[in-house]
Each structure stands twice: as C-alpha cells, then as structure tokens.
Amino acid sequence: MRQALISDDRVIDELKKAAAETLTIDVATIKADSSLVKDLGAESLDFLDINYRVEQAFSIKMARHFIIEHIEEMFGEGTALDADGRLTEKAVKLMKIRLDAAEDGSGFDSLEPGMDMDALPAMITIRSMAKGIMDILDTLPKDCPSCGKSAWKTENETHIVCGACGAEAVYKNGDDLIKEWLQKTQDEHKII
C-alpha cells in the first residue's frame, strides 16, 4: 500500500537529497549504490544528521542504533562482538538472514566473522539505508487509527495523511522494528 503512495524511487531520491545536504555535496554525484562512508565521506555524526533530515521529510523515526547494538542489548554483551570489537559468527548469521530478506545485500558481500565493527558503516549504501526507511513506511496501517477509514493520501510527496480526517500517518519506529525482527528471527532460528 505504501508503495502506491510513496515509491521506492522517491525514498531513494529523498535520501540522496538528505545526504547531499548533510555532506554538502552535489546530489548528482550520489548514486543508489554509493557507500556513505567510502564514496561520500560520511562519519558517524553525519549518519544521525541524515537520519534527522529523513525523519523530517517522511515524519518517521529512524533507528538510533545499529543492529549490532540491539543484538548485544537483547541477547547480552559479547553475542555480536568479541572482546576486540570483531563480529561474531552468530552476528554474521543474523545479519545475513536480514540481508537475504531484504533481497539486496549489495555492499555487504564481504560480511564475515572476525570483521572489525568499525568496518560496518562503510558497507552502508544509499540503497541499503533507503531499505530501512521503506521498512518503516511499510508499517503504515491499512486503516487510519484516528477515524478507522482507509483513505491515506500523500501530501508534499513524502507525508502521508488520512484523506478522511486529516490525521498524520503513524509508523513504528526504526529501533522497535529491528528489535521485533531480531526477536522473531531468534525464535525461528535459535541462533543465539
């Protein structure tokens, strides 16, 4: 349903715009497969600034923390990273399941146990980050929680509101989505 209101291309374009504003670079130089760190020079604080711009554009809440941090918070310190800050086999298994589910693991091909956690941000591309935005937008409920009608429409190309009562769309936040996915995947695969 969301795709009929905000297309995947629109999400990618909006993310490119956010990255260009944060990093003060020409949006035309950004490709869907550009690595935010390797190709565009982003640093950790830049990710949060890009998140903020995306949140303003789509009225959503992006994840504040990477999946690795969630794994360790949910299943215990040491489950995702060893004492030297390197990825564990279990963390890689979980992340690969997530990437397979996303049907686009581009950039994450070299993911393997023993990899330094600092190498992970370099794997994030515009496309993989956009997937996170789409996941959040896809939590748009069928009916408006305020009036119960199914009359969503788009305003300013990126904001979804109820065409019947005018209420703004409400989505799950990025961190909760990751945590839900991790719990479900753990229940199914018993990786940790």
Partner: protein, 269 residues
C-alpha cells in the same frame, strides 16, 4: 604572572602574546571556532582530528589552509586521544610543527547516546577512555612540552557542557564532563606551582554536529528560542579571555557560556 609581566603582554588594551596552541577535536564545531579565534589573535595552531580518511581530516585540512591564509602557522595532526600511543604521537607532531606549546585546549569528545543504565561495557569503556582518560593523557603529555616552551603565560582549558550539571536524555557524556570539571579544579591547584593555569568553559546549546545528534533524543529542542543558542564563537571568545592575562584571578573554574539558558527553570513558550 607579575604586574610587570602583565604590562609586557598588554599594549593599549590589546593582548599581544604570540602563542602555540593545540586544540583537540578541532576539525569542526566548537573546536574549529576556538582554533580560528586563536589564529585571529595571532597564535599558531595545531588542528587535531581523530581519524584519517574521513570528513574530519578533510575539514581539518581546510581549516589549516584558512589559518595559513591569515598568515599564521597551522598544523593538522591526527590522533585518537583515548589511546596513549596515539596521544604521544599527536603531541610530538604538533610540537614539532608549532615549535613549542603554550596552550592546550581539551575539546575532543566521543560518546554513545543512550541512557546510562543501558550502556554496554564496551560503550562505558569508550566513554571513560576518550572523555576522562584521554583528556588526562593529553595533559600528561603536554606538561613537559609546555614547561620547555619559553614564556610565562601557559594555559590548559577544558571544554565542558551543561550536561555536567543538568540531566539530558541519552547523554552519558554529561557525567564525564562533571568528572573533568573536578579534574580542572585539581589540576589548577597542582599546576599553578608550575606556572600553568587551568580552567574550563561550559557551553550551553550550540548548533554544532553534536546538537544534530541531541535533537534526535530531546523532543522539542527545536522549539527552544533561537536567542538562547550560543554561537561557537562566543565560547571561543571566553576561551581566549581565559588564556589571557586578563583572567589572572580565575583559577580552576568552569565558566558557563549559555546566554542565560541555565538561569531559569521556567520559560514562557
């Protein structure tokens, strides 16, 4: 400093004191503003950034070029202050580039953004290693260089934040700032005998990169009146004042620069 020394340093109300200054974490934000202010006042500056190959290196090099264009010497120096070996190298390169060290500005900071009770051991270590141990490593490394540098006007200034005194959501860095304000008092007592003055400046809300993070954790922060936001240059000016003979009566203190934000619990919306 004696009154005679002071007279030498102040001419017609203008402080003229060539300085060699190292500002940790100065590729952007408050650190960059402080480095620029020192350069404008006639100092040579070492610009520190933590990682090679990222945007901070690019920004450090850009700032270096801007300072050189002012006719001052500037040296970009890479170094992660949480690692003692890295601190040794960064000071050695900075001092070699500047030809000495008069002033050390402790501005670098790095911290996770989440409530303290949720911090993992790794995150707690990062918090303490960068923001407490790292600053002390810098002071320890700086002292011999500062004492060997000719001159009598030596300063260490720590850049704190209101998080040392007030709660902010997901801001464990505040506890480290509080610890460092205590360190400043301590160092002020012990280092005054060695001719080094130590103080701190606590900035209020500043629209730097760190603020970009805070606005994701503090709902409604965007509604704070613009008049209460501090410009990085306002913090830099107080740092310059504290590094001048005019501040000779201030020792071991943390000066708050927040446009009065912390004066009142109540504000009209």
């Amino acid at each position: 400093m004696t009154p005679d020394m002071l007279k030498q340093d102040i001419g017609n109300g203008t402080i003229k004191s060539p300085r060699k200054v190292l500002v940790t974490g100065s590729s952007r934000g408050i650190g960059s503003a402080i480095a620029t202010a020192f350069a404008l006042s006639g100092a040579d500056v070492a610009i520190n950034f933590s990682k090679q190959g990222g945007r901070s290196e690019e920004q450090a090099k850009k700032l270096t070029a801007e300072i050189m264009a002012m006719g001052r010497n500037a040296v970009p120096v890479v170094g992660d202050i949480s690692k003692k070996d890295s601190v040794k190298k960064l000071f050695s390169e900075a001092v070699e580039g500047l030809g000495g060290l008069d002033v050390l500005i402790l501005n670098a900071a790095r911290a996770p953004f989440k409530p303290i009770e949720r911090l993992l051991e790794r995150e707690l270590r990062l918090l303490v290693e960068t923001n407490y141990l790292g600053n002390i490593f810098c002071v320890q490394e700086a002292l011999p260089y500062m004492e060997r540098t000719p001159g009598h006007d030596k300063h260490i200034i720590f850049i704190s934040s209101l998080g040392s005194r007030f709660y902010n959501p997901a801001y464990p860095l505040g506890s480290m700032k509080a610890a460092m304000e205590a360190v400043v008092r301590d160092l002020s007592e012990t280092l005054s005998k060695r001719g080094i003055a130590v103080n701190a400046v606590s900035g209020g809300m500043v629209r730097t990169d760190s603020f970009k993070v805070l606005r994701q954790f503090i709902d409604g922060i965007e509604r704070v009146p613009e008049a209460l936001f501090v410009d990085p240059g306002e913090i830099a000016d107080v740092v310059l004042f504290l590094c001048s003979p005019l501040s000779r009566g201030i020792r071991g203190q943390t000066i708050v620069v927040d446009r009065g934000l912390s004066n009142s619990l109540h504000r009209n919306a």
